[in-house]
Amino acid sequence: MPAGATYEPIATSSPTSVGTVDFSSLGSYTDIRIVIFTRQAAGSATDIRIRFNSDTGTNYSFTELYGTGAAAASASTSNASYIAAGLTRNVANIWNATTVDIFNYAGATNKTVLTTDASESNGSGYVWRKVGLWRSTSAITTITVSLNSGNFATGTTISLYGIKAA
């Protein structure tokens, strides 16, 4: 017998002329997925950043595996003030396909995040996987998606989905 419905849309933002989007009223689920379809409106390549509960302290870390098409590499960042979910560029018609999975977001343990980021532009680009950590036992009640610099290009959509376990 199937369980109740899961993977439900929570909210979608289509930002224009801003570089930060906040989501609140997350609902009651087990996990949350964010799907980010974006590119940068202007300027140099910049991080797509994730924060929780408006925490701008150095309570985040992430480890990444990435490929440029020519080289594969891994790196880690400790005591950061954000989790880097990807890198977006101001290249015409080239959009990021980025997903962010936040596990047990309402739990009383530190919060683990898995991100994938794809940006291919027929000559340059990269593919990224990252695991992130927010060292907080507080339930996540708000999520901030932002760019390190510049604004999201018009046409960007950032969608939240709730996934409920049986």
């Binding site: 899961t6 993977y7 799907v35 020519a70 594969a72 994938t116 291919e120 593919v127 959509t157 969608s159």
Partner: protein
Amino acid sequence: MPTPTYVAIAKQVMTGTQATITFSAIPSTYTDLVVLGSVRTDRASTVDYLKIRFNGASVDTNLTGRFIYGDGATATSSTAAYAQVARVDAASNTSNTFSNVEIYIPNYLGSTYKPISSSGVAEDNSTTGYDQASASLFSDTTAISSISLVNLFGSFVSGTRFDLYGIKNS
């Protein structure tokens, strides 16, 4: 109460050898598409390369790919003049072993070029496992109405399965 999404649109289950599978007449009622696959090919090797094409194309026009993979010993990144979405099991892998593949296509109805994010894993308790993440691009502003999956070398074998899902945001 939010509307459920991640809706099953169609499935393709191989009962024999088949070179290409196609999902056509994809509804234009979703925001994103997801393809999940359990994949093995008949190539006489320990690996084959799964490719994606769109809108009835029989060649890899307007498709490029960039990927990173690990084989248990090293990590490598490379590119392709086609959309290589995963490394998958082939005929020389441990029998009854199929690769897992997930392909995510956001904004498939949009009038921009289409980015594709995918991952595939192939593990067979031998020396030929792979974990690959790919970024592909369909350099076409036309909405996607059909998806084809084909291998660089072999054909899909019986037991291979693909499922297509639609994701609708709020």
